[in-house]
Amino acid sequence: MSKLTLLSDSDEILPLVRRLRDGIARETPLSTLIEKLASWGARLLASRTGNVPGAAYLSMWLRRENLQRLLEADFGCAVSGMLGVPSAFPKEPMGNSSFIKPVGIVGHWTAGNVDLQAVLSGVCGLLGGNANLIRVPSDQRAHIEPLLACLAEDDSEGALSSRLAFISFPSDRVDLHEAMARHVDGAMIWGGEEAVRAVRALPFPSWARIAVFGPRYSLALMDALTWSNPATRKIWCDRLARDVWLYEQRACSSPQAIVLERGNEDPREFVRDLADSFRAQNKRVPRRLMEPADALTVLKARADWLLQAQDHTAQMSFAPDWTILVGEGSALPQAAQHRTLVVTIVDRLEEFVASLDGVTQTMGVAVADAEREAALAEQAALRGVDRIVPIGQMHFFNSPWDGQMLVKGMTRTISYARSRHQQEA
């Protein structure tokens, strides 16, 4: 059943759960799941869903090669075996063995800021062999429904849809959240601090596997050699602008600041190029609507920054379209979101990285010297940073994420020791 179910009563959850349990029982080879997902992805591009935000990205993400890469990241070379026979007991001569099984039904609570997170999270659960009960935030229903219609056309025998149940209900319906939590064996929880805290407090079974993604902070890092070169600087600025624009800076992987290493060149050159990139990106992806409260947030961030210190500078559009705030210092600037980026100029990147802690999720990097970059990555990882990726790829959703295996996290590694050796039998 590939459609979105609007829930109004907690009794409506039980039939969905029964269907999902049936779905797990009918074991489908992993290779079939991947084929079906890839086919869905290809159909997304060909269908009318092209207008759904992020549909093109989802289509690319669902490609067979990408899904296999995702699995390889989690399971290493064991994937080839899993693709053949995903869950049969291995017939090993040894007395002891282990094998992978799904946790069961995984509940997905996704953030309201990332349009396709419900699908992305659900697919991760699916690849682990799980059935998935996925809550779609109310304001994302319009985006998700056409994607599910497309899936229904391609999955008549129900290989995927027997393990996927997309549901939606108002976020303040605590009774429905609770009913959902009671029936799952695992949970993937995405969102801001308040949302995550509320979901974690739900009455999950004691054995349920809980994986929390967010809330986190992300930033970019650029060394003096990289930004001092006018030829490459513009390319990096364009990439950074794209990372800032995607998800309106509300994702945990969104850069809120770029840490720029002081060099021989005037950093105003960098800021000028960055402003040009922001202007161009704004032309490509203009905002169609802005809530008054969001406009006020941007204007307050601008005022706070410029009133804070006389050496603080800024580049901005008159409208609250985009803002670049420039200053020196070692502290992580506050996230204003809404296309507002802080440029923090530091003497040495190493000193800045040493001040990071586990609040930082992604560090987008552009460092000319590979060895230095690797050393910075090592140091950042020690300080709690979970993703170190090139600027321009900060949102690329892959495993591990937030330091956790996206697929493996919702599987169980079963240990099985035979009671007797074969020769005894």
Binding site: E193, R216, Y217, Q256, L289
Partner: protein, 373 residues
């Protein structure tokens, strides 16, 4: 010597709702521009002005002047443009629980101007005579002379119209203000109910204090009273009390009728300028300031019929940079000019407070951490 004193003095000599012709527009723009230039004596504010997309000297219309969001005043120490020895008092916004209140530094000149301006505006609505004044609040609400809050500021702004000021409210154990019937009855005994009387209170305080009288269908018989109230509608909207119901109920209980119940908008950051409802139910900027309703997407002035963020302008401040302030309130432009009440300039209505901005999504962490640290 204040550089913009001439333009300001000329404007302050005008009637509060003088015709908005070309010379007024020129004078107002000059006074505001000069006021902002003067405020740039504060180096932090000067930095803000320097980064405004349109250089101050090139600004040709009020809507292009650099405006500050009112939240910029929620700082300690306050954002001031005069040294501390020249502060005569600090106004604090009422603020909601858990929020840092705005702090507005007032010097002698600002104080003089705000008294003169507020008196002129109120006089345009209720006349100039002094009359017995009944305040529906606890006397402690006025606060100390050197530092007081929004309730105290509003009460003080009306004192030029009142004598025999009587406070008929008292703070109950729950914190709510309740009516002290003994004091009220004493006031009614002392004053002729057929003569003008001025009654003031915060909107929700008046409602809560008079609720029992309203339920009992009482009529205090004060036919010539004016009831002025301010402070916002949030509490009453939550209790499903509309402005129409408020005016009718309070007007009946006081005995003056709904037409003499006047809601006015004011904020400590825009001190000295008040926006009472005209007979058409609209609000108007006085001669001493301007109102721009801004489209939140473009920040350009909104067209008639559109709702946007309210920006207020004032020529009055000499002690804080409050010449052009973007509030957190929403307003609708009713008419660009020619309101039925005869007052010139834009006619607008408040549409409540902008819903609180929330940093949403999984990237919201640092703002919360910073706020709590």
């Amino acid at each position: 010597m204040n550089v913009c004193q001439n333009s300001v003095s000329k404007l302050l000599e005008c009637a509060p709702f003088a015709p908005r012709d070309f010379s007024h527009a020129e004078l107002l723009l000059r006074a505001l521009r000069e006021g902002i230039g003067h405020a740039a004596k504060n180096p932090r504010y000067a930095n803000y002005i320097r980064h405004w997309p349109i250089p101050l000297a090139e600004v040709r219309r009020i809507a292009d002047l650099p405006f500050l969001p009112v939240a910029a005043f929620k700082t300690d120490p306050p954002l001031a443009i005069v040294p501390q020895e020249n502060w005569s008092r600090v106004l604090r916004s009422s603020g909601t629980s858990g929020q840092i209140p705005s702090q507005i530094v007032i010097d002698k000149l600002t104080s003089l101007r705000m008294t003169r301006s507020a008196a002129a505006i109120f006089a345009d609505f209720i006349g100039v005579s002094r009359r017995p004044m009944l305040v529906i609040d606890d006397p402690k609400a006025v606060g100390a002379a050197s530092e007081f809050n929004a309730r105290g500021a509003a009460i003080r702004g009306l004192l030029p119209f009142g004598h025999s000021v009587t406070y008929c409210g008292r703070q109950a154990g729950s914190g709510a203000i309740e009516l002290d019937l003994e004091i009220l009855n004493d006031f009614l005994r002392k004053h002729d109910p057929t003569q003008p009387i001025l009654i003031y209170g915060f909107t929700y305080i008046i409602w809560m204090a008079l609720e029992r009288l309203i339920e009992e269908g009482r009529d205090l018989g004060l036919r010539q009273a004016h009831v002025l109230h301010s402070g916002g509608w949030k509490t009453l909207i939550d209790r499903a009390v509309s402005k129409r119901l408020f005016n009718q109920s309070v007007g009946t209980a006081i005995g003056c009728g709904a037409d003499r119940v006047v809601d006015f908008y004011g904020m400590v950051e825009n001190v000295g300028i008040v926006y009472p409802d005209c007979v058409e139910g609209n609000k108007h900027p006085p001669t001493y300031g301007e109102v721009v309703i801004r489209n939140p997407l473009t920040l350009e002035p909104a067209a008639v019929g559109e709702t946007g963020i309210v920006q207020v302008c004032s020529i009055l401040p000499t002690s804080f940079p409050g010449h052009a302030l973007l509030t957190e309130d929403l307003g609708e432009v009713m008419q660009a000019d020619h309101c039925g009440c005869g007052r010139p300039g834009v006619a607008f209505r408040f549409k409540g407070r902008s819903p609180k901005a929330e940093l949403r999504g999984c990237g919201d962490v640092l703002a919360r951490r910073t706020a709590s640290s």
